[in-house]
C-alpha cells in the first residue's frame, strides 16, 4: 500500500469539509484497501468516516425504513424488522462475503464497491475503465463476466445489496457541503459502461452517501434473495436472484426479478416479471420466468454456464419467496 495521510472525522460536516483535492472516503475499507494493496489506487489522503456515529443505524420512518450508510452488512442481516419484512435485503447482506467481512463492510460501501474484473483489479492492465480503449476480458479470461447488457465492458455488478435494494425500489441519500441533500433511486444510481466507462455511479466527488431509504411494502409482499457461487463463501456471485412478489391470495399482482452477476449494472428482467404477473406462483410459472430471464443473453467465450445457472437461481428463488421451497442448500453463504 502507498503511504497516505488520514483525516479521521467524527461528524458528517467534518467529513464533507475534507472531500477535496482527490481525498478518498474510507468506510469499512474492505474494497478500498484491496485496491490500494493491489496498487490500482494510490490516494494521498483518506477521509475516514468509519467513526461517524450518526451514519449508523436502522430507523423505521413514516415512509418505510432508513438505513444509515455505515450500518454493517451483519447489522442489516440480523435486524428483526429487515428479516421479517424486507427479507431479500437480509438475505443479500447475510450472504455477501464472509461473516467477518460482514462485520466490517458497510452497506454504503457495499453499494459503492468497484468492479471485481481481475484485469480491473490488477495494476498491470490499463483497460477501458482506466481510460484506455481496450477490454482484456472479451478475448481473455471471462468466466465470471457478464452475459447481457455489457456494451464495451462485461465486468459484472458486484454488489449483492444493490440487487435487493433495486427490487425494493430503494433510493440513496447523497449529501454535499455545497448543495445539501439529494435522493437518487437505485435504478438511476449506476451508470452503464457505454454511457460513461469512467463513472460507476452518479455520485459526485464532493458527496457522501449518507443513507438508504426503502419505501413501505404493499400488503402481501414476499421476497427472497439467493446467491450462487463457486464456493460456499469467500466470493462474489456467479449468479444471483432477488425476487419480490406482491401476492393477492394465490395470484401474483406484481413481480420483481432482479439480477447482479449478469450485467455491469444491477438489472431487472422485465421478461421474467411479465411471465409471473397476474398468474399463480407454481413450479411451472417459476421455471418459465427463469427461462424468460435469459432472452437477451449473449454469453462470452467462457461463461455460457451462466445461461444455465441464472434460470435455476430465479426458479428456486421465486419458489423460496413464495414459501413453496426451502432455501437451496447449494446456494452460497
Amino acid at each position: 500500500m502507498n503511504s497516505f495521510a488520514l483525516a479521521d472525522c467524527s461528524t458528517v460536516e467534518a467529513a464533507l469539509s475534507q472531500l477535496k483535492d482527490g481525498a478518498v472516503v474510507k468506510a469499512g475499507g474492505v474494497d478500498l484497501l484491496d485496491r490500494m494493496k493491489n496498487g490500482t489506487d494510490t490516494p494521498a489522503r483518506l477521509v475516514n468516516i468509519r467513526n461517524i456515529a450518526a451514519l449508523r443505524g436502522i430507523h423505521p420512518t413514516d415512509q418505510g425504513l432508513t438505513i444509515g450508510a455505515l450500518t454493517t452488512l451483519a447489522e442489516v442481516a440480523d435486524d428483526p424488522t429487515i428479516r421479517s419484512q424486507y427479507t431479500l435485503l437480509a438475505d443479500a447482506c447475510g450472504h455477501a462475503a464472509t461473516p467477518h467481512i460482514r462485520n466490517m463492510a458497510t452497506l454504503g460501501g457495499n453499494l459503492l464497491q468497484q468492479l471485481q474484473c481481475w484485469y480491473y483489479r490488477s495494476a498491470d492492465f490499463q483497460c477501458l475503465r482506466k481510460g484506455k480503449d481496450i477490454c482484456f476480458a472479451f478475448s481473455g479470461l471471462n468466466q465470471y463476466h457478464a452475459i447481457m447488457d455489457y456494451g464495451g465492458c462485461p465486468s459484472v455488478a458486484p454488489s449483492s445489496g444493490a440487487v435487493a435494494l433495486l427490487a425494493l425500489d430503494a433510493s440513496v441519500e447523497l449529501t454535499s457541503a455545497a448543495r445539501g441533500k439529494r435522493t437518487v433511486a437505485i435504478k438511476d444510481f449506476y451508470v452503464q459502461p457505454d454511457a460513461n466507462p469512467h463513472r460507476f455511479h452518479v455520485m459526485a466527488d464532493d458527496e457522501l452517501l449518507t443513507a438508504i431509504h426503502i419505501p413501505k411494502l404493499a400488503p402481501g409482499t414476499r421476497s427472497a434473495y439467493q446467491k450462487y457461487g463457486e464456493k460456499e463463501s469467500h466470493d462474489w456471485a456467479i449468479a444471483d436472484a432477488g425476487i419480490l412478489l406482491e401476492m393477492d391470495g394465490n395470484i401474483c399482482r406484481r413481480a420483481v426479478v432482479a439480477m447482479g452477476a449478469a450485467s455491469p449494472v444491477v438489472r431487472r428482467s422485465h421478461e421474467a416479471e411479465a411471465v409471473l404477473t397476474g398468474k399463480p406462483i407454481t413450479p411451472e410459472t417459476a421455471r418459465a420466468a427463469g427461462k424468460a430471464s435469459m432472452t437477451n443473453a449473449m454469453p462470452l467465450s467462457m461463461n455460457g454456464y451462466k445461461v444455465q445457472l441464472f434460470p435455476v437461481a430465479i426458479y428456486r428463488t421465486v419458489l423460496l419467496a413464495a414459501g413453496q421451497m426451502d432455501r437451496d442448500p447449494s446456494a452460497a453463504g
Binding site: 502507498n2 475499507g29 484491496d34 496498487g39 483489479r121
Partner: protein, 224 residues
C-alpha cells in the same frame, strides 16, 4: 485466494507492497518510547504545522500521518504503545511491530480469515483493518484467549479432536469458533458451519472443527 482476485495464470504477478510499510524500519528506535495520548496530540500538532494545506482543519477532524505517529492499542487486556502509519494494518502492527505472530496472514485480502482477531469480541479480519481503527477498541488475539498456561476450551477441544493439520488456518479458526461460543453458548452444527464459513482450511479439517467446537460448547455448559 478468491477466484475473482486470482490473476489469470499466465499474467505477471502484481507487485506486492504488503507487509513492508516504511515505518517498520524505524520501530527499533521508537519502540518502548511509551508515548500515549498526550504524545499523540503533540506530534499531531507538529504535523499539522508542517502541512499548511491542513492547517485549517476544522473541529471533529483528526489528522494522522503520512509519517509514523504514536498510538496505544489495547490488546489482550494490556496497553501497548507503538508507532504506526495510517497504512499500517492491524495484522502488521500485531505481527511485525509487536511480534505477536499467533495471528496468521495468508491472503492479506479478506478472503481466508486466517488473520481473525476480535475487536470488542466481534471477529474481524485484521489484514483489512487499519491499526488506527483499532484505537479505542479492545483487541483480542489468539495469544489472549487462554488464561495463563491453561488452554481456552476451544483450543483444548481442537487438540482432543485433532482438528488441525498444517495449522496455518487454526488460530483464525479458533478465534471464529470461540467468538461464536461467546455469542451463542449452545450452537448447532449449522451455527458452527456458518461461523467458520469464511475460514479457509485447505487441509480440510472442517468436520473435526465442527466436532471440536460442539464438544467445547458442551464442556463450557457443564462448567457453567
Amino acid at each position: 485466494m478468491s477466484q475473482h482476485q486470482t490473476p489469470p495464470k499466465d499474467l505477471p504477478e502484481a507487485p506486492s507492497t504488503a507487509l513492508t510499510p516504511a515505518g517498520i524500519t524505524r520501530r527499533g528506535f521508537l519502540k518502548g518510547a511509551g508515548i500515549t495520548a498526550a504524545g499523540t496530540a503533540l506530534i499531531e500538532g507538529v504535523q499539522v504545522f508542517q502541512r499548511e494545506a491542513v492547517a485549517a482543519a476544522p473541529q471533529n477532524v483528526k489528522e494522522f500521518g503520512p509519517e509514523p505517529f504514536p498510538v496505544t492499542l489495547q490488546i489482550n487486556g494490556k496497553a501497548h504503545a507503538l508507532q504506526i502509519e495510517p497504512r499500517t494494518t492491524l495484522a502488521e502492527a500485531l505481527r511485525i511491530q509487536l511480534n505477536m505472530t499467533g495471528t496468521k496472514v495468508s491472503c492479506d485480502r479478506g478472503v481466508c480469515s486466517s488473520c481473525t482477531v476480535w475487536l470488542d469480541k466481534m471477529p474481524v479480519n485484521s489484514c483489512m483493518t487499519l491499526a488506527i481503527d483499532a484505537v479505542g477498541h479492545h483487541v483480542t488475539t489468539i495469544e489472549g484467549i487462554s488464561a495463563a498456561d491453561e488452554m481456552h476450551p476451544v483450543q483444548a477441544a481442537f487438540v482432543r479432536h485433532d482438528a488441525l493439520q498444517c495449522g496455518f488456518c487454526t488460530p483464525g479458526m479458533v478465534m471464529s469458533c470461540a467468538a461464536l461460543l461467546e455469542k451463542n453458548p449452545h450452537p448447532t452444527e449449522a451455527d458452527v458451519r456458518y461461523a467458520v464459513s469464511g475460514n479457509l482450511c485447505r487441509c480440510g479439517t472442517y468436520p473435526k472443527v465442527f466436532a471440536a467446537t460442539l464438544d467445547a460448547a458442551g464442556q463450557l455448559a457443564s462448567k457453567a
